[in-house]
């Protein structure tokens, strides 16, 4: 199957099964046939169709080059992957989200964690539960060496002593068990100070710093309990942290229906000195005024295009900027096995609450029907794990014929449940936005190639 589109003056043809991406002139773009085509069109028919538009010589050359790519397996390539379903088996758990604090010092209106407590009352994780979680992860990870642990909340800095205890405990076990822990932390920044900055810069392989962008946009949703906006509380702390940081980080914002001009927020964050930026669509109840709706899709897509063009101009001037959702490595990205399996939610990845309850991921926490087990009583539902293992992209009816299936890999199970009520039914707005982001990301590659 191919996907072809025009964007920002580029004619792009993506060959879905091989992963090859081609930039073409107009005659080739037309001669290759329709978007979604699965085999080379009848070239005689194409010649007749475009006889008045192109010369015979142009069409001859284009047809010849198309045929060469088909021959080399880079266009209309075969779907080799149908047999994968049988291999979609349960994998070792190698990644974990620790809900260090179901409590928060901000009350952000759009919070999917219900202002920090996930609807289950305020609670901090004990070091005992945290260490049990590390033991669980080591045991379940089998022969996987790289283990990811994210400190999340609520706000994890409200329980930072336990974060440090857990890090020290896990580090003490690395050698004995041949494991490499990669810690990450997601924070709203309010409690950051010099000591904490130095500690997390030293121990965390990635740091996610929550901020929505322009001061008035951030402060619209991200407020203290007293109603004060948080921008002024955090911005200088983030600048200090990033100025001292060697490893990865993201300043990470949320956009809603109220700031569909979110490229301005990306640019604001960049102007503050941040070059690793993620600004993402809100995940919230569709009934709320600020939720994203189907009618917003054209405006959001236009904004992604605008941002892509700005990023191209910046990069051509030698500026450093990395927008998370435009990251794409056309040569060295994930292998096809990973692309077929998709997000490890509930299979390779779980979330643990302060009480020691286990959920498929951080966004499932609080949905009792999705609880997978408990560290306290040692229970673990392997049937649920298998359900997620089998939830690969080819198992989803709407995904199996989609051109973007090896880029989004079936999307987010939590979003699918929240909006569609089924982990196998992709959320349509998320699909539309993901496709546009992939198109923009590939176009950026074309522009900078």
């Amino acid at each position: 199957m191919i996907h072809k589109y025009r964007l920002n003056g580029y004619n792009i043809i993506m060959d879905v099964n091989s992963g090859a991406v081609h930039v073409t002139d107009d005659v080739t773009f037309d001669m290759v046939g329709d978007d979604g085509g699965v085999s080379m069109p009848d070239m005689e028919e194409q010649r007749r169709k475009y006889a008045g538009k192109y010369t015979e010589a142009q069409m001859d050359e284009a047809a010849g080059e198309i045929a060469q790519l088909v021959q080399s397996g880079a266009l209309f390539s075969e779907d080799y992957y149908a047999g994968f379903a049988a291999k979609a088996i349960s994998s070792p758990i190698k990644s974990m989200c620790l809900h260090i604090a179901h409590d928060c010092n901000l009350v952000c209106d759009y919070c999917f964690a219900a202002k920090g407590d996930f609807g289950h009352g305020r609670c901090l994780m004990s070091a005992r539960i945290g260490k049990k979680a590390i033991d669980f992860l080591i045991e379940k990870s089998a022969n996987r060496r790289n283990l990811e642990v994210d400190f999340f909340g609520g706000e994890p800095l409200m329980n930072f002593g336990v974060v440090k205890e857990i890090v020290e405990y896990a580090r003490s076990l690395e050698k004995e068990h041949n494991k490499n822990f990669r810690f990450t932390i997601t924070t709203n920044g309010v409690l950051l100070n010099d000591d904490i900055i130095d500690y997390i810069n030293g121990q965390m392989s990635n740091i996610v710093l929550s901020i929505d962008g322009r001061p008035e946009i951030n402060d619209r949703f991200r407020k203290t309990a007293g109603g004060r906006g948080s921008y002024d509380l955090i911005i200088d702390k983030y600048k200090k942290l990033v100025s001292k940081r060697v490893g990865d980080y993201y300043v990470r914002g949320t956009f809603t229906r109220e700031n569909l001009d979110f490229s301005e927020d990306v640019l604001h964050l960049w102007s503050c000195g941040f070059d690793q930026i993620s600004v993402e669509p809100v995940v919230t109840s569709p009934e709320l005024d600020y939720s994203l709706r189907e009618e917003d899709i054209p405006a959001i897509c236009e904004e992604y295009e605008k941002l892509a063009k700005i990023i191209i101009e910046m990069k051509q001037k030698g500026e450093r900027i990395n927008f998370f959702h435009f990251n794409i490595d056309l040569d060295g990205g994930p292998c096809i096995i990973k692309r077929l399996k998709g997000c490890g939610c509930g299979n390779e990845y779980v979330a643990v609450t302060p009480e020691g309850d286990i959920y498929p991921c951080h966004q499932f926490v609080g949905m009792e029907e999705w609880k997978m087990g408990s560290l306290e009583d040692g229970s673990f539902d392997n049937d649920k794990k298998q359900l997620f293992a089998a939830n690969h992209v080819l198992s989803k009816e709407k995904c199996s014929d989609c051109w973007a299936k090896f880029y989004c890999s079936g999307g987010c199970s939590a979003n699918n449940v929240q909006y569609m009520g089924d982990i196998r039914k992709p959320h349509e707005i998320s699909c539309a936005l993901e496709k546009k982001r992939v198109e923009c990301a590939v176009m950026i590659k074309a522009a900078l190639s």
Binding site: H22, T24, V27, S95, G333
Partner: protein, 45 residues
């Protein structure tokens, strides 16, 4: 080629041969937290 510029190698099928080691990032957790995009992750090999 005169009419077509190919940006990358057609490598997905080949990636199956030595792929599936399972050492790469398992979820969106360490970056965005709400919208997993597998293709923007990196391979460990």
């Amino acid at each position: 080629m005169k009419h077509i510029k190919t940006l990358n190698t057609a490598s997905l099928k080949k990636s199956a041969e030595k792929g599936g080691c399972g050492e790469c990032q398992a979820s969106c957790q360490s970056a965005c937290k709400t919208s997993c995009t597998v293709a923007n992750q990196t391979c460990e090999k």
